[in-house]
């Protein structure tokens, strides 16, 4: 019995967005028939990677609960769209990196969770280059 799989599909296969642009995506759950979903959370967020402790901020968040919407609603493809902010832009720094992604968290019975995420870029800043002191 394989675990359900969460697919995140960006509209038009787009993976790079300009600040202020609309992001549209669909989340689809596969092989869910044998599992009883309790809730699903969809977030558009950025988080940092690198040397520092992780910072995270959520730009878009929605929770769909089987209690409120019914279990059938969770089995249908979930479409959403959100206008992306002007900042922070995706950044590949040396010790500070900023990553944007759509993250879907599926809550199953017995406290089981399945997390899927798809990264995308906000802005088009090239990777940073370390300046070597003279």
């Amino acid at each position: 019995m394989s675990d359900p799989r969460v697919l995140i599909l960006f509209e038009g296969g787009q993976r790079t967005y300009r600040p202020g642009e609309m992001l549209s995506a669909t989340c689809r759950i596969e092989s869910l028939s044998l599992f009883e979903p309790k809730a699903m959370e969809v977030s558009v967020l950025w988080h940092t990677e690198g040397k520092g402790d992780e910072d995270l901020a959520v730009h878009y968040f929605n929770r769909v609960s089987a209690d409120d919407e019914g279990a059938m609603e969770l089995r249908r493809p979930y479409q959403f769209q959100t206008r992306l902010p002007n900042s922070p832009l995706t950044y590949d720094g040396i010790i500070v990196k900023i990553r944007w992604c759509v993250r879907v968290r599926l809550f199953l019975v017995r406290s089981r969770e399945i997390v899927a995420e798809q990264a995308f870029r906000l802005g088009d800043i090239p990777a940073a280059v370390l300046v070597v002191p003279k």
Partner: protein, 416 residues
């Protein structure tokens, strides 16, 4: 994910233990200290008692000997004579013998004194109706445990079973509703880009804005505190060493160990004075800019002025971008910085600055099109700044930094 839930449950359990420990301690202190103290003051009934005897009770334990004055008094309640030993209630035993003796000396055997007895148990009485602040102050300890444990427990329970994204979303929503935080229009349009703060509140004399120096006095203050602390400790040990020599019992090991410590202390004094000299000896460097905030791909005018009497080997003005990350390593909070952009805007060599003829430079610089904007989050930052460096004859190398904010290029129709 289950480990997250387990971690949250463990944290809730920890706070619950702290909370209940605080409740138990509060109950014990109320019953044994605070309520008895309050009752002696408000509920005990006054009468007159004859002092028959007095003594100093002593208890020896691991913490040394502790003392408590005790009095034998005789008084009458409802035509029944009471003959009891009493102490100042709820005064606990104390190691301060002098204060206990002073209380004992205030009373003379054979004299009559006001006395207060417990209406529920007339054999309990006090000669001193002390209403000690300590009886209430002891409650701070359990109350702080209750506040910390209760707050932590409520926070843990509120977050139990919630995902990190849901917690972040709730925290962000709560922060937006904070009535004490003024909404920042630029912060809303450019989240996590630092506001302009005090970068644009000082008009320039030549260009629009005078930039404040980011070199804070904290470095000097920190150095001064370390220097005073170090030399204070060395001084205490030096006094002990000198006293040992004066008494004819020289502490040679202490005296020898103090020599390197004293040399370090002198080194610290030198460093602090040098820092003070650099900070105050040279005149201020004025840096002004024609527009702010900065936008990638735009060009800006700068004006730099230096006053004083200086012979300068070289002076350099650079636009710099640093990444800064703070992280926990064990119990320590550490920071690391790394430079990702540096461009020398202007360089001038071999010139003299006189009080009647201050040095002034006007130049232009461009912010490259494809660079990261200023960024600020709890543990990570991207910082843009102008750095003025100079090699001045007779002075240590000078480096002064001036903060700038680089904003992302605005979206179409979203003009800054």
């Amino acid at each position: 994910m289950r480990s997250d839930a387990l971690g949250g449950a463990s944290l809730a359990l920890f706070f619950a233990i702290v909370f209940f420990a605080g409740c138990i301690a509060l109950g014990l202190m109320l019953v044994n200290v605070t309520i008895p103290a309050w009752r002696t003051r408000h509920k005990f009934i006054a009468c007159t008692a004859k002092l028959l005897d007095k003594r100093m009770d002593e208890v020896s334990g691991e913490q040394g000997t502790r003392f408590q004055p005790s009095f034998r008094v005789n008084y009458e309640v409802a035509q029944r004579k009471q003959d009891v030993w009493t102490s100042e209630m709820p005064r606990p035993f104390t190691s301060d013998r002098a204060s206990s003796q002073a209380i004992l000396d205030r009373f003379e055997v054979g004299h009559d004194y006001p006395c207060w007895y417990d209406p529920f148990d007339p054999s309990r009485a006090v000669l001193l109706q002390g209403y000690r602040v300590q009886a209430w102050l002891v409650l701070i300890f359990p109350v702080s445990f209750i506040a910390l444990g209760g707050g932590g427990l409520a926070w843990s329970l509120a977050n139990l079973g919630k995902s990190v994204e849901r917690r972040a979303a709730l925290a962000q929503r709560a922060a937006q509703l904070d009535p004490f935080v003024e909404p920042d229009p630029i912060g809303r349009r450019f989240p996590h880009v630092p506001g302009q703060g005090n970068l644009t509140n000082s008009p320039g004399t030549t260009l629009a804005f005078r930039l404040p120096s980011t070199v804070s006095n904290w470095k000097l203050l920190g150095g001064l505190i370390i220097c005073l602390f170090w030399n204070g400790v060395v001084l205490v040990f030096a006094v002990i060493a000198v006293e040992s020599f004066r008494l004819g019992e020289p502490e040679w090991f202490l005296a020898l160990a103090l020599v390197p410590l004293a040399l370090i202390g002198l080194g610290l004094v030198y460093l602090v004075l040098r820092q003070l000299w650099v900070l105050t000896g040279l005149g201020p460097t004025i840096v002004e800019i024609d527009r702010h905030p900065l936008i990638p791909g735009s060009s800006y005018q700068l004006f730099v002025a230096q006053s004083g009497r200086l012979a300068v080997n070289w002076l350099s003005l650079s636009l710099v971008c640093d990444e800064e990350a703070t992280f926990r390593q064990g119990t320590n909070l550490r920071a690391d910085t790394c430079q990702v952009y540096r461009h020398e805007i202007h360089r001038q060599e071999r010139f003299v600055v006189k009080p009647e003829k201050p040095m002034s430079i006007r130049c232009r610089f461009d912010v490259p099109l494809a660079v990261m904007h200023s960024f600020n989050s709890e543990h990570n930052r991207v910082i843009w700044k102008l750095i003025v460096e100079a090699d001045v004859i007779g002075w240590p190398r000078i480096e002064r930094a001036y903060a700038l904010q680089v904003y992302p290029s605005p979206a179409e129709g979203d003009l800054l």
